[in-house]
Symmetry: C2
Subunit: 229 residues, 2 copies
DNA sequence: CCGGCACCGTGTCCTCTGGACACGATGCCG
DNA sequence: CGGCATCGTGTCCAGAGGACACGGTGCCGG
């Protein structure tokens, strides 16, 4: 290896901001730290990048190890590298952003005896390192992206009602939407498959279920179609 | 330092995609490599991150060192970390994205005897490492961002004509725009200061000069205004 | 001096989109 | 069988965006 590389090197980690949605709120997955620094504090799941794995592989591995979690949607968020962001020394972290269907991911005990739990994104405990910044950045990204890419569906069960979908947007965007206009617009896109099923076990009139048509979206996307709100 | 950190570490670099605009084309700044690997190939300016500087500071420093360049607009683009992207070993690079006013940056000889030059973004030589991917990512970002943030002005001289501005958008977006609609829309935003000056040394009727009003934009932005194409 | 050339600068019309807005239908429960 | 909660639907209006053409101005060359 060239002499060029014999400088001291920073350590490199990945951290994941995993969002999920339940009936009440938008949630983020946190892990309670078992060791110093910030022992006992809550933090984003993450860890060191191995020499032979890509950054995204590292993110997936950490999610699997720390929360027994697999996710369909995982994208790079931002890289945080302030020299003093870790008290142990120079650590640069590549943050990732993931969406999971909370309904299908009941957390399993983490393999390394750390506690994992979902918190409302509007009400998290004090976080370790600069993870509050990372979370804020991720929220901003989610808010921005959900409007012009159909990623919101990653947060819902495969079959969902239009009300659920609308609640999703209202929660993420932090504003109310008009039901009629919302339905008009989303149905006009012709990306939802109307199923011959209605929701079960509700104590009022049951709503029709829909399914997002990924194939159709891919096609339309190629043809220059743009999803928007 | 904790034992946790005694894993082997990747090297970390920053690379910069610097865009400039001249009368003909959108340009990108490249540096010819003086050492192996890829000796003689053109590459993005960049280099190793020092242990005591932030990522953005590293990017600015490299731009200064390799091209004598300062830039107003510098933002993080993406982090590239495929295990085999550098033949010398594991090197992760944090790519940055910069815009400069080409009219005011005649390149000075680089301090470390490497050659620096501007190339049309549509016609670059074969690049070192995965820098072609980095450039493609940057172009995509520029195309996306220019429409909803007033960053295009960073590519123009402080005083410019509406035709120059329109040509900028046409070049970046790779499509033609209608002159009357473009002027109507951009002037309606009320972000351009109309000057009592016209361009000089043209062999036809001279066009009026305008200046972008950064202050006004900041105010409007706070008030919830959204710049859009 | 005059014509040609190149670019500057301007307004109308039409379509479509987006937002405001209310009520009858359905199904469960007590 | 009445009450309650949610479902599901259509109209109207204003504003934005896109299509579209021509007279004005200034330089240059003959």
């Amino acid at each position: 290896m060239s002499h060029t590389y014999e400088y001291p090197r920073p350590a490199v980690t990945v951290d994941c901001v995993v969002f999920g949605l339940d009936e009440e709120d938008l949630k983020v997955l946190l892990i309670q730290r078992g060791v110093e620094p910030y022992q006992g504090r809550w933090a984003l799941p993450g860890g060191f990048v191995r020499m032979d794995e890509s950054l995204e592989d590292a993110a997936r591995r950490e999610l699997e190890e720390e929360a027994g979690l697999r996710t369909s949607h995982l994208e790079q968020l931002y890289t945080f590298g302030a020299p003093d962001r870790d008290p142990r020394g120079r650590v640069i972290t590549v943050a990732y952003f993931a969406l999971v269907k909370l309904s299908q991911h009941h957390l399993q005990a983490s393999t390394d005896a750390r506690e994992a739990a979902w918190f409302s994104v509007w009400d998290t405990p004090k976080l370790a390192f600069d993870h509050a910044d990372v979370l804020a950045t991720a929220l901003q990204r989610l808010k921005g992206k959900v409007r012009y890419q159909p990623i919101g569906f990653e947060l819902l069960p495969p079959k969902f009602t239009l009300s659920q979908l609308q609640r999703l947007y209202e929660t993420v965007l932090e504003r109310e939407l008009d039901k009629r206009n919302f339905r008009k617009k989303i149905l006009a896109m012709d990306l939802l498959e109307e199923l011959d099923e209605v929701e079960q076990d509700v104590s009022h009139r049951a709503a029709r279920l829909y399914r997002f048509d990924h194939k159709k979206y891919k096609q339309l996307e190629k043809a220059g179609f743009n999803f928007e709100l």
